[in-house]
Amino acid sequence: MNAYDLLIAPFAEFDFMRRALIGVIALGLGAGPVGVLMMLRRMSLAGDAMAHAILPGAAVGFLAAGLNLFAMTLGGLIAGFAVALGAGAVARATQMKEDAALAAFYLVSLALGVMLVSLRGSNVDLLHVLFGTVLALDDPTLLLIVGVSTVSMLTLAVLWRPLVVECVDPGFLRSVSRAGTPTHLVFLGLVVLNLVGGFHALGTLLAVGLMMLPAATARFWASDLTALVVAAVLVACGSGVIGLLVSYHLGVPSGPAIILVAGGAYVLSVLVGPIGGILPRLMPRRHLEA
C-alpha cells in the first residue's frame, strides 16, 4: 500500500469521506480556539458539563421528531443555552461561583432529560446522539457545522480583546468597561453552539474532545496566545483527518477514532512537549550565566 492509497484514496474515492473531511476541518477551526479560551479561563471541565446538559435536549428533540436535524439541534441549543446562561447569570448575580452553578444546572438538565425520555416510554436507540455519525453527514448537517464554525470564528474575532482581558485581569476590565458580563455570556453561547455543531458528527459527549484535547495539547508546544490557537486548530484538524483515515482503514467507529487520535497527540505532548513536557524536564540542562 503506497502513500496515495493510505492518505488520499479514501477521500478521492468516496463522497461520504470527503463530506466527513469538510465536517471535521470545520469543527476543528471552530472548536480549537474556543477550547484554548476555555482552558485559559480554567473552564476545561465546564465544556463537559455543558455537553451533558445538551444531551437531554437533543434526546428530547429526537423523541419528538425522530432523526430530524432541526428538532435535535433546537433541543440541544435550548438545553445548552438554558444551562449556560442560567449558570452564568446565577454566578454573576449571586455569591455562587460559576463552576458550582454549572454543576447544579447541568445535573438538573440531565435528570429532566432522562425523565422526559422515560415518560415517552419508548426504548429508542440514542446511539446517534451519544456518538454521532461523522460518516453520514448530509447537506443540511454539513451546512450547520460549517455555519457554526463561521459564526464562531467571526464572533471570536470581534470579542477577542474583551475575552482575553476578562481572563487575564477581570478587575481591570470591570474598571474600564461594562463589556465583561455580556462578553462572557456570548462566549458561553459559542461553547454551546460548537458542541451542538459537534454532536452531529461526534456525539454530544465526544464533541467536547475536539474542543479540549487540542487545547491541552497545544499548551505543551506554544507559549504565546496566537501560537496556542494555531497549534490547537492544527491538532484538532489533524486529529480529524487522521482519525477518519484510521477509521476507514481499520474499520473502527470514526467518532471515537478521531478523539483517540487527539488523545494520542495529547499523551505524546505530555511526554515530549518542549514546554513543560516530562522528558524535556528530565533532560539535564546547564543553567545560563544571566
Binding site: D169, P170, G171, S175, A179, A222, D224
Partner: protein
C-alpha cells in the same frame, strides 16, 4: 519637599475649588454588614490622599465604591458622570492571572482602552506612547516577556505603565507598594508624585505610615468608620492610631439596623 513638588502644590491649589468626589454619609458593605460606615467628605481635584487603617477597615471596599463596582448600602458617592473614563483603578496585584500567556507590551497597551475601546486598533503614535510608558517604569527590553516570568516588582512596574497610559484624572491605588523592594517603591512613588504634579487626584491605600508621612499631604484614617480625615500631620497622631487599632473587626449578627441618616434622606 523639592522645588518640583512645591510647584505641584501651587498648581493643585489653583484648582482647589473643583470638587471631584464627594461622600455623603455613605455606608458600603456586604450583605447588610457595613465595611465603611457613615463616611462624609469631599475630595478636590489634585489632592494626593493616603487611605490608612487596619486590615478589614474598609479601605479596599471604599475604592470599589468610588469605582462604582459596589453600590452603597446607604448614602451616596458623587463622582464624575463618565466615571469609568476618568477614573483609573489598580486593584491589589493578586487579581491578575500571571499564568496567562500575554506579554508586557500587550498588558501595558491595555492602558489605551479609552482610545481603542473594545475593537479599535493601535496607531503609530500610540505605539510611541506605549514604548514611552514602558521606559518610564524602567522596563525597556521586557516588552516581549510573558508576564509569568516577571518578578513581583517588575509586574507592578508594568501595571503602573498601564496606569500612565490610562491618563486618568482620578487614580485609585489599592496597596500599590505591598511586597516591593525599596528601589521599586522609590521609583513608583516618584510616578505618583509626578501624577500629583500634573494636577491629577490620587487616592492610595497604604500601610507604611513613614511613606505616607513623607509623600502624602492628606490622609483618611479608616477603621470601618472614619477616624479622621485631613492633613496627614494631624491625622496620623498616636491618639488616632490607637483608636483605629481598637476597631472591632467582628460582625455583630445581633446588631440593630442602623438608624436612617438624617441629612441624606431627602437627597
Amino acid at each position: 519637599m523639592g522645588a518640583e513638588a512645591k510647584s505641584a502644590e501651587v498648581k493643585s491649589a489653583e484648582v482647589k475649588s473643583a470638587e471631584v468626589l464627594a461622600f455623603r454619609d455613605v455606608t458600603l458593605g456586604y450583605d447588610r454588614h457595613p465595611a465603611v460606615h457613615h463616611l462624609t467628605g469631599t475630595v478636590n481635584a489634585g489632592e494626593l490622599i493616603a487611605i490608612c487603617g487596619p486590615n478589614g477597615a474598609g479601605k479596599s471596599t471604599l475604592l470599589k465604591g468610588v469605582m462604582g463596582l459596589l453600590s452603597p448600602l446607604a448614602g451616596s458617592i458623587v463622582r464624575p458622570d463618565d466615571g469609568r473614563a476618568r477614573i483609573a483603578y489598580l486593584p491589589q496585584a493578586a487579581e491578575v492571572d500571571r499564568s496567562f500567556p500575554i506579554n508586557v507590551y500587550d498588558i501595558v497597551a491595555l492602558g489605551l482602552w479609552r482610545r481603542t475601546g473594545l475593537f479599535g486598533g493601535v496607531s503609530h503614535a500610540d505605539r510611541a506612547r506605549i514604548a514611552e510608558a514602558i521606559a518610564a517604569v524602567g522596563l525597556d527590553g521586557f516588552e516581549r516577556r510573558p508576564i509569568g516570568t516577571l518578578s513581583g516588582g517588575q509586574m507592578q512596574r508594568a501595571l503602573f505603565a498601564r496606569l500612565l497610559l490610562q491618563n486618568a484624572e482620578i487614580i485609585l491605588l489599592d496597596e500599590p507598594f505591598t511586597a516591593l523592594d525599596a528601589a521599586t517603591v522609590r521609583d513608583l512613588v516618584a510616578l505618583v508624585e509626578r501624577w500629583h504634579g500634573e494636577g491629577r487626584t490620587v487616592l492610595a491605600v497604604l500601610h507604611d505610615l513613614e511613606l505616607v508621612r513623607a509623600h502624602f499631604p492628606r490622609t483618611l484614617l479608616l477603621a470601618r468608620s472614619p477616624v479622621e480625615w485631613g492633613e496627614t500631620r494631624t491625622v496620623l497622631t498616636s491618639t488616632n492610631l490607637t483608636r483605629a487599632r481598637h476597631m472591632c473587626e467582628a460582625w455583630d449578627e445581633g446588631a440593630h439596623a442602623c438608624a436612617p441618616a438624617r441629612t441624606e434622606r431627602a437627597a
